[in-house]
Amino acid sequence: MSTVDVAHPIHKTFTGLDNRKVAIWAFIGSECLFFASLIGTYLVYKGRSVVGPFPHEEWTSPSGQHFEQIFEIPLVTFGTGVLLFSSFFVVMALAGAQHGNRKMMIGWLSATIVAGLFFIGMQVYEFTHFAHKGLGFTTNLFGSSFYTLTGFHGTHVTIGIIWLTTVLVLAVRGKIPPEKALNLELAALYWHFVDVVWIVIFPVVYLMR
């Protein structure tokens, strides 16, 4: 006699796995290749800019205009820490959802969204600051590859914030009972993926000279 999973009776596949979870993992797999192409492009163009400003060195143009180094490591380190902790926040929210602790789920989910918003705020400030320092999208190879890579990551963070906010609204309305915790788990998996991409981008872009 076979057993029936009451929580997800219509989503099981022949593998015995939930098809929504298979779908999000397949999507995350495809996203790995997307970001690999962007990181690869950044690496092959690294150090090949003919004109400044440069990420780690000061530069004076032939016309005598002086440019400071672009990166500010303390700010981006703080943003990285916040994004890392947001991954912890979302697993705590998921634990709350699975144990039927609505207060815990809503609290940690709100903290995750706030952390994500802080990271995006940091990135907006960083981009604005870099533009004031003379680094535009078409200034040099560094500018083009840097803004493309980190901009796409920031877009993914923004999409993650929107997704988590919709889950938060459902949670507040009491529509995420323990048997529907998978709805939060799928959003959490996407959020963790966004985090692991930044785990690669941070040292490759900001710390490697």
Binding site: G16, L43, I73, G81
Partner: protein
């Protein structure tokens, strides 16, 4: 019967980590990030001089190892790949392997092209 076969081949069915484990992982992730930035700052500031000279040639390797450790920790414990189905792990690990090869091939190709001109 069929269900049983799929369960034994595709799922690990292990219990998910406890809250204490999540906290421990968060602390380790924070510590590894601090080590990354510390290694960069020592080389950037050149102080202490002896340590900076020792770290500089291996800075990239240090950063890659620390980054990989953080990646594995988040994947294994926060994304629950250590406890979840092997099928999900393969859906994640195979594209990462292809992605790694893609980046390596791009670097080799462009290095070769640049050596020609």
């Amino acid at each position: 019967m069929e269900d049983t076969i799929h369960k034994t081949t595709l799922t690990r069915e292990g219990p998910w980590p406890s809250v204490v484990k999540y906290i421990k992982v968060a602390v380790v992730l924070f510590a590894l990030t601090a080590l990354e930035v510390l290694a960069y700052e020592i080389v950037d500031e050149g102080a202490p001089a002896a340590l900076a000279a020792a770290i500089e040639p291996v800075l990239v390797a240090i950063l890659l190892v620390l980054s990989a450790a953080k990646f594995v920790l988040v994947g294994a414990f926060y994304m629950h790949l250590k406890q979840d189905s092997v099928f999900f792990s393969s859906l994640f690990v195979f594209p990462i392997a292809v992605a790694g090869m893609l980046v390596a091939v791009l670097i080799v190709l462009f290095s070769y092209m640049n050596s020609l001109y």
